[in-house]
Structures are given as structure tokens and as C-alpha cells.
């Protein structure tokens, strides 16, 4: 059976947005999409030399799109009604859409409301079944103050991203690896701090 390895890993937080240079349309995306996109950008993967129809994108979002849902729904009382743009981001999978659009990735997508533990086995399965050659995995904890009041969870804005590929060049992803922070730490153990966990 082919080995699944971690070719790149990294973590971004809301603080990283202030130095992000992601183009003029970055601003219209919601916080979840911005952080997810930035996390993938920071992995520094050169997708151009890959068959991008065979690159998957998997996302796990611990609170769904709740922060954006709240912001969108607040707009219902405004003149002109709620924002159509915000409505488009009341789906956590829109973050995948933005990643796919930016890097022209046309392979399979999986979007879970859940945690890293759900995500990694599914990405591995896609690779092992040869449905993809590589998989961008993004795990998001994006909970604004407003959302935290609603679901009684601590506010947080952190996204962890790894790029998994079939091959030998990188840290092997094992069954026991269930969370992306520890995978990031593993990858960064022998590397420069550029891509790595804070």
C-alpha cells in the first residue's frame, strides 16, 4: 500500500491577516474563507506542476459557518435587506470553493462540521483509493465573540493546514495522528520555522 506523507504543514491565526497580501477580492470573503485561504497560501505548494484534477481539498470546521451566519442574519433588518455576498459564505464549504478557485483545484472536496480527527482518515482514504494524488487538508476553529455566546465555546480563530501526498518525501502520516497541531509540530521538528506552527 502506498505511503501517505505530509509534504507541508502550517498554522495561521487572525493576526496573520494583517500582513496578508492576497489581492483585491480577499476582503469580500468571510473570516473562515480568509483564514483557510491564507493557511493554504502559506504552505507554499506549487500546484502548477501537478494534475490539479487529482488534488483534493478537505475541510473540517468546528463551528460550521456560524460566525458568518450571525453576521448575515444581523443584516435582515437593514434597508435593502441582508447581504447576498454574506449569504454565499453561510456555507462552510464556500471556503473550499475559494481555495479551489484560487489554485484551480478541480478534484474531490469533503467538508465536515467537526474536527481534525474526522478529516485526516478521510483524506488518507482518498489518497489510498487513488481518487487523488494529493490532498489539501484544512482544519478550522473560527469562533467569533458573537458565535461563542451562542454555542458557549471559547472564541478562537486558528486554522491548521497540511498537504498530504502519496509518496516517500516527507513525514509519514500514521493512524495514530489524529490532530493537525501535532502533525504540524512533527513536520516542523526538523525544518525551518517558515511554514510552521506558532
Amino acid at each position: 500500500m502506498a505511503k501517505v506523507v505530509v509534504a507541508a504543514a502550517g498554522i495561521v491565526t487572525e493576526a496573520d491577516l494583517s500582513t496578508a497580501k492576497m489581492g483585491s477580492r480577499f476582503g469580500r470573503m468571510d473570516l473562515l474563507s480568509q483564514l483557510a485561504l491564507l493557511a493554504v497560501e502559506r504552505l507554499g505548494i506549487n500546484f502548477e506542476k501537478m494534475d490539479r484534477s487529482r488534488i483534493g481539498v478537505c475541510l473540517a470546521v468546528s463551528a460550521g459557518s456560524l460566525p458568518t451566519d450571525i453576521e448575515y442574519w444581523k443584516g435582515r433588518k437593514e434597508i435593502g435587506g441582508p447581504s447576498p455576498t454574506l449569504f454565499a459564505y453561510t456555507l462552510p464549504s464556500s471556503a473550499i470553493g475559494e481555495i479551489a478557485i484560487r489554485y484551480r483545484l478541480t478534484g474531490p472536496n469533503l467538508c465536515f462540521v467537526g474536527t481534525d480527527a474526522t478529516l485526516l482518515p478521510e483524506a488518507r482514504d482518498l489518497i489510498e483509493r487513488k481518487e487523488v494524488d494529493g490532498c489539501v487538508c484544512v482544519a478550522c476553529d473560527v469562533i467569533t465573540t458573537a458565535a461563542s455566546e451562542l454555542i458557549r465555546v471559547q472564541p478562537k480563530a486558528q486554522v491548521r493546514a497540511v498537504f498530504l501526498v502519496r509518496g516517500t518525501n516527507g513525514v509519514a502520516l500514521e493512524e495514530k495522528h489524529r490532530d493537525m497541531e501535532s502533525v504540524c509540530a512533527l513536520v516542523c521538528a526538523g525544518e525551518s520555522a517558515r511554514n510552521c506552527a506558532r
Partner: protein, 92 residues
């Protein structure tokens, strides 16, 4: 609630409203030409932006566009949009 709006629409103010409502980054009002196309080329806005601008028109200028086709010629450039707004407000 009563809204009184200026008869003359400053293109600079309109550009600021466009940048704000569409959350455009790294773009200043000075960089948007009055006659440059807003959609396709130029600013490169898309169909969702068009709908967002329709909402902005109602919110800030009190103009209701029921049918997006009605708004299409108006949304061609900043100048055509300013003229559209002025015409609608004069008609009130």
C-alpha cells in the same frame, strides 16, 4: 423613517461606497476611473457584486431596483451609476 439625499452624486463618494460595500482591498477611489467598466474588465466585478451594489443603492441612496436587468445599464461604470442615481432622485 425619512431620508433626504443630495441631488448631485459625487463620484468620489460613490467610489468610496463601492469600495466599502464590496470590501475591496488594496483599491483607492483615485484608482477607479469614472468611465472604466465595473464588470468584466476594469474592476472585474461579478454577478454577486452586482447584487451587492443593488443593496447598497437601496441602503445609501434609497433606490430600489426590482429587476437586475433594469440595473444593468446603470452599473456599467461609476459615471453611468452616478447619472442613474441622480435621475432616480430627481424623479422622486
Amino acid at each position: 423613517m425619512d431620508h433626504t439625499f443630495d441631488m448631485h452624486v459625487s463620484t468620489n463618494e460613490l467610489k468610496t461606497k463601492i469600495i466599502e460595500s464590496l470590501r475591496l482591498q488594496e483599491v483607492t477611489p483615485e484608482q477607479i476611473e469614472d468611465d472604466a467598466p465595473l464588470f468584466g474588465t476594469g474592476l472585474g466585478l461579478d454577478s454577486i457584486d452586482a447584487l451587492e451594489l443593488v443593496v447598497m443603492l437601496e441602503k445609501h441612496y434609497g433606490i430600489v431596483i426590482k429587476d437586475i436587468e433594469e440595473g444593468r445599464p446603470a452599473l456599467r461604470s461609476v459615471r453611468t451609476l452616478a447619472e442613474f442615481i441622480e435621475a432616480k432622485q430627481t424623479a422622486k
